[in-house]
């Protein structure tokens, strides 16, 4: 069996990693199904100041083709968004749900690099004024993970 094929990962269940911009903890249910908790941050300079966001997400993956150094996957994510603006009391929050498909490449026995793309539906509302907005966004995600044990 060639080195670093995904089937070699069966002994490993728990993995941690980082993405753009945040971190994640992943648990392999079996060779094809995986669950993952993610934390991401982001910031944007708005018209009236800097806005900072935090996202807590739960992802599910379905992997294909384990007998290779790379494997495709499909998945879905449900997340909670919380944002605030510096020096004011404006607060924005809401859910985000989406689906994605991507490719993971194994770098060694325990390391892997991944990329996925997919549409997300964000529904955000401001707490004080009740202004809300729902939009469809296309989001690319990259990550690096390390299988621990």
């Amino acid at each position: 069996m060639p080195c670093c094929v995904f089937s070699q990962f069966d002994p490993y269940r728990l993995a941690v990693g980082f993405n753009y911009i945040g971190g994640q903890i992943r648990y392999d249910l079996d060779s094809r199904w995986t669950g993952e908790l993610r934390y991401l941050t982001g910031s944007e300079n708005g018209a009236v100041g800097k806005v900072s966001s935090q996202v807590f997400g739960l992802r599910g993956y379905r992997f294909f083709r384990e007998d290779s150094r790379y494997r495709f996957f499909l998945g879905a994510e449900a997340a909670l968004v919380s944002s605030d603006q510096k020096n004011t009391s404006y607060r924005v929050s809401g859910p985000a749900i989406g689906g994605f498909g991507g490719l993971e490449f194994r770098l060694g026995k325990r390391f892997a690099l991944g990329l996925d793309l997919g549409p997300y539906l964000l529904s955000l509302q401001e707490n004080e004024t009740a202004v809300s907005e729902t939009s469809l966004e296309f989001i690319a995600n990259t990550y690096f993970i390390v299988h621990l044990f």
């Binding site: 993610r38 401001e126 907005e133």
Partner: protein, 257 residues
């Protein structure tokens, strides 16, 4: 299976190009959309104010009814009328041009603020504007003076020297004799020892105070000698001097020997 995956992938890419913007990272996308929501919220608040919902058409241009409500020797409190769902930027300075001002932006709907750690008996200027509207203007500046930190009654609480060693006191108010150029009120203590080499008498500060200046002057005429001038600050409006003194040293207390 491979064709299905490929088809899904192509569809997603097509959808991304034609249906929505592409973001790198869900956190970044959330921040961008949140900024858009907040901007819309600000515009909604401004529209409500300009159409008389919470005030006049000009209410977002400059806050009104800006006034001092309390002050002490080191603190001041100021308040203003607010337009609901707006934040405010406040500025305090010790000069009327606000050249070295302390500025900060408070919480939404904040209607007052208190500054602490100020200098007693000093003038300060204050102005405020709405922070959540890009075109807002500052209010007219108002000024006040912090209170003096001097006690209301007598400031001196003890004698500057052992009274058994003096024969009399000339009260404060005596101006110097002609020929002496130091233009302040003096009071004099007439010591009993009029010998050519009198025994030095210890001096004590008459109240709690801070030594703010110590000057040594060396004379060569009419004789070679040294004298010391000491300046003390009792409170923001009152200072006193010990001068001239023949010698001094500090003895863990403001005592001169």
């Amino acid at each position: 299976m491979r064709r299905i995956i490929l088809s899904i992938g192509v569809f997603m890419i097509f959808c991304g190009i034609s249906c929505a913007g592409l973001h790198f990272g869900l956190g970044k996308a959330a921040a961008k959309k949140s900024a858009e929501v907040i901007e819309e919220a600000v515009q909604k608040s401004t529209a409500a104010a300009s159409f008389g919902g919470e005030g006049s058409a000009e209410s977002y241009n400059a806050p009104t009814n800006v006034a001092w409500v309390a002050s002490s020797s080191t603190t001041v409190t100021v308040s203003w009328s607010i337009v609901s769902a707006n934040g405010y930027t406040m500025m305090l300075a010790s000069d009327q041009n606000f050249s070295s001002a302390f500025s900060w932006t408070g919480d939404l709907n904040q209607a007052n603020t208190t500054y602490a750690g100020l200098t007693p008996f000093t003038n300060y200027w204050f102005k405020v504007k709405i922070s959540t509207h890009p075109d807002s203007a500052y209010s007219s500046a108002i000024s006040t003076k912090t209170d003096s930190d001097c006690p209301g009654g007598a400031i001196f609480s003890s004698s500057v020297m052992d009274l058994s060693k003096i024969s009399g006191i000339r009260p404060l108010g005596a101006l110097n004799p002609s020929g002496h150029t130091f233009p302040t009120d003096h009071n004099y203590y007439a010591i009993k020892d009029f010998s050519a080499t009198p025994t030095p008498i210890a001096l004590s500060a008459p109240c709690a105070s801070h030594l703010t200046s110590l000057i040594q002057i060396n004379f060569s005429t009419p004789a070679v000698f040294t004298e010391y001038h000491l300046e003390f600050l009792a409170c923001s409006q009152f200072m006193f001097f010990f001068q001239p003194c023949r010698a001094f040293h500090f003895n863990n207390q403001p005592t001169l020997l």
